[in-house]
Amino acid sequence: MTATQDRPAAEIGKDRRRKEDQRLITGRTRWTDNITLPGMLHLAMVRSPFAHATITSIDVEAAKASPNVVAVLSGKDFGDELGVCINAWPITPDQKTPAHSPMPADRVAFAGEVVAVVVARSAAEARDAAELVDVEYEELPAVVGIKKALEDQVLAHPDLGTNKSALWVFDSSEAGTGGDVEAAIAEARTNGIVIEREYRQQRLIPAFMEPRSVVVDPTGEQITMWSATQIPHILRFALAATTGVPESKIRVIAPDVGGGFGGKLQTTPEEWIAWAVARRLSKPVKYTETRSESLLAAHHGRDQVQMLTLAADKDGKVTGFKVHLDADLGAYIAIVGGGVPVLGAFMFNAIYKFPSYRFECQTVLTNTTFTDAYRGAGRPEATYAVERLMDELAAEVGVDPLEIRERNWITHEEFPFTTVAGLEYDSGNYEAATAKAKESFGYDALRAEQKERRERGDRVQLGIGVSTFTEMCGLAPSRVLGSLDYGAGGWEHASVRMLATGKVEIVTGASAHGQGHETAFSQIVADRLGVPFEDVEVLHGDTQIAHKGLDTYGSRSLVVGGEALVRAVDKVIEKAKHLAAHLLEANADDLDYTAGRFSVRGTDQGVTIQELSTAAFAAHNYPEDMEPSLDADATYDPVNFNYPHGTHLCAMEVDTETGAVKMRKYTCCDDIGVIINPLIVAGQVHGGLVQGIAQALWEEAVHDEAGTLVSGSFVDYLLPTSADTISFDVVHTDEPSVCTTNTLGTKGVGEAGTIASTPAVVNAVVDAVRHLGVHDIQMPCTPERVWRAIHANDGDAPTPEAAMPHFEEGALNQDEGAGQ
């Protein structure tokens, strides 16, 4: 596969503890909120309590008179300098996009939207004064929930005339990638199996550990913004594009950032307001949100209703899959907004050889917090739908869920394989991952126990859930993004700086916020360049240092940013070789490079990369056709996505008396190609699993009919802790399916656990009680929903809403709130 195979790989594959952890864990580092500048002022936001209302007046006099208040500003105090919040991915040319001011002057469209900002000398004084701002509203009818939005009776934005923003369609018969799905369904209705289901992807809140925070300093030559963001480069571009400040006058710094999960892949109203206030007052300002504000107004994730029709022959070989999604954008179309469900379009066919496929996505606007990327972004939704349905198909055919998958999946001999959605999967081995997972899980023994418990009528039933997922990650080939009307490319940039003392600084455009870039990238450079791991410093997140980049999301940093780094390192080696040949008075073709040293083949003469760095710095003696520098840059644009996959097996115990569920065992065998640092991978997988399990069992953002966020604190928005999870069994295939489109052979892993685990858990819960007549339980599978599903038919638990297997016109079951 790669050039690394003929080098001693001391670092790649090593369980390096993360070099960044000490400062991150102890907090002895620079987060945005602990940046303090001379004369800095503090902001507090005044937010609308109403989901939809006209602002009739704002009286700021009392707030202005409050101690140490410097200014109180509302939308009408600003003109164009406030800028706008952008949508960088209009999914169709006719997409209806509401204007999105960071601080609207006339009308609010969701509860939590900022209507005024208080500037004071301390954060406490700003907060006190914010309570004195007297805003009068005239409440307008609010539209909440996808079903209501589709009715177009109440409009989220009356000026648009509809809540329907865009309809995005992919059809394999039109694209030439497959057959006609309607024909397949018609055939299956007479001569096969048709499974129709409606699944709900509930709304989620990313709930990163560090709340969002922004500091703006307008006092230098460049205006500097520090922000707890995943995307400093995109943020800089968007500030320049929307506020009229030249890009060259803007510096954005993402210092250490405490998690994102997609929730900090955003350009936020609060950043734009802080920017405008700092410029207006010519003073540094800081805004740090409270946790309550974060849950309310930082973007939410998921929120789809999926209507699914799967056609198969009588043996369970799928002949067609039709998907219609309705996706709730919330009140505005956020930066990637409608693109998130579209990312799922290519993944509903998953690891399978479906001959026909149609995907439609209708995005809708509602008077709720806007939605955008959340770990997995489009792919968890797709994986959930198809993996739930494969279990349903197995039940219908009467075979083991693993068997039904095997009848449909791409076999390892068939790679590279072009799917019905038009992607070319370069490598994979579903058989190997499944075999290994099955063995490690103890599949047969757990199935035997399940049988025994069923026969015994045990109060606690056991279920086994399967999820054989794949995903497309490593966002993204720029040309593909262009064809989807995305507003930017998907390349990444890296620089290698060879310092005079032989140490190495590398600069990456991928902006870490907890992933471990500093460690993994150091390992890559240490191997490739043959320098000690400790000698490599990884710099990122400051546009003055990392001047080019497209940041961190979509499991892209290693597979795109890492490849850029490899290419930059290779350029350094080429330059160094030229210098070495000169200094050694040898022909470059006679030099070998191993472990950081050029040697003249057949002699003991040589020179180290560190000596060459010093020589280039001194520049006393170097070839005439060379600049005295070993430094190099590379910008890498991937030629394809990459396709990690894995088999996840989950055993859940269900207490049939209470509906309580308990995880018994979870095994995942992920094939992610070559692994740079197994410890970091284990961390990504464990954390990802918990996040996906949490969607299955615990998390749900709920708005009431008026558009008020009911789950507005961690008392009601349930996040799990270590006390709620078990120790996962994380294994990998013995011979990974190496990625063929990057030098290192790596595939992304940041989202894999989240994408895979949700359907595995729900499949297990449903499997535990399927014999009691249950074939669906809405997420999150609360004890109450499980209990009601079990007892739906025995008169013990009166409610129809917990399980809704088939969809019918006008019978959407899961739109309003908790569905209870």
Binding site: A123, T658, L697, W698, S711, V715, D724, P783, A797
Partner: protein, 281 residues
Amino acid sequence: MIPVKFDYLAPTSVEEAISALGQHGDDAKILAGGQSLLPVLRMRLNAPEVVIDLGGISSLRGIRDDGDAIVIGAMTTHHDVRDDHLVKEHALLLSKAAAEVADSQIRHRGTFGGALAHADPAGDLGAPALALGAQFVIAGPGGTRTVEASDFFVDLFETAIGDDEILTEVRIPKHTGWGAHYEKFVRVAHQWPIVAVAATVKGSIDEARIGLTNMGSTPLRATASEQALAGASATEDGVRAAADLAAEGTNPPSDLNGAADYRQHLARVLTGRAVLKAAGV
């Protein structure tokens, strides 16, 4: 999360605290560990002008033997209640319930009296205190008075403690040798209980005392179940039949974690489980 500005008083005696309360009246709130009060202040759901911290009054901490009762100082932490040998010997139910309060950090800060005086119907200590027939010693300007548990809990977040009074200690009649179990039903470990049942039984079964958490605006006794259990033998079928009466007279809330009818179902199931475990079956 910044609270509204307040003055902070740290009295060192009960008398001083009562005097401060008398002086500031409605404008003051008592800080007794702060695990509920501080979030309320930080979220600006309440904005007292004065916070009176009882943490400096050493006489309010500790647990002592007082003949037919044990006496728990109001400022004793949940952690200390859980681990105390007198509590384990004479009021095992309290030890078991204190072990289930929130998480370890909160158990080291939050106090027994603070939680009871806060009277959150989802709090873990009201139901066992009620089941054990606790007596609440309340000090005010005119001296102290004792209130029975059945009269102490008045409504949501409301007790018999007057505006100028402080809960100083709680007397728990000894239930030496009684089996006990606190059955708490949650979705995640650190959550307030959706429903919980505090059960303690003498013998198997001479007498049963059962308290219900979060089944109404105050902690409740499962009186009908208690009566059905008295003198019954601790068989699974018998206990479950008695437990089926546990939801009688309850009026639980409906929220994201469960509708009222589901909570009543849980109360019945959990009562059976709690009693069986308390009886060692």
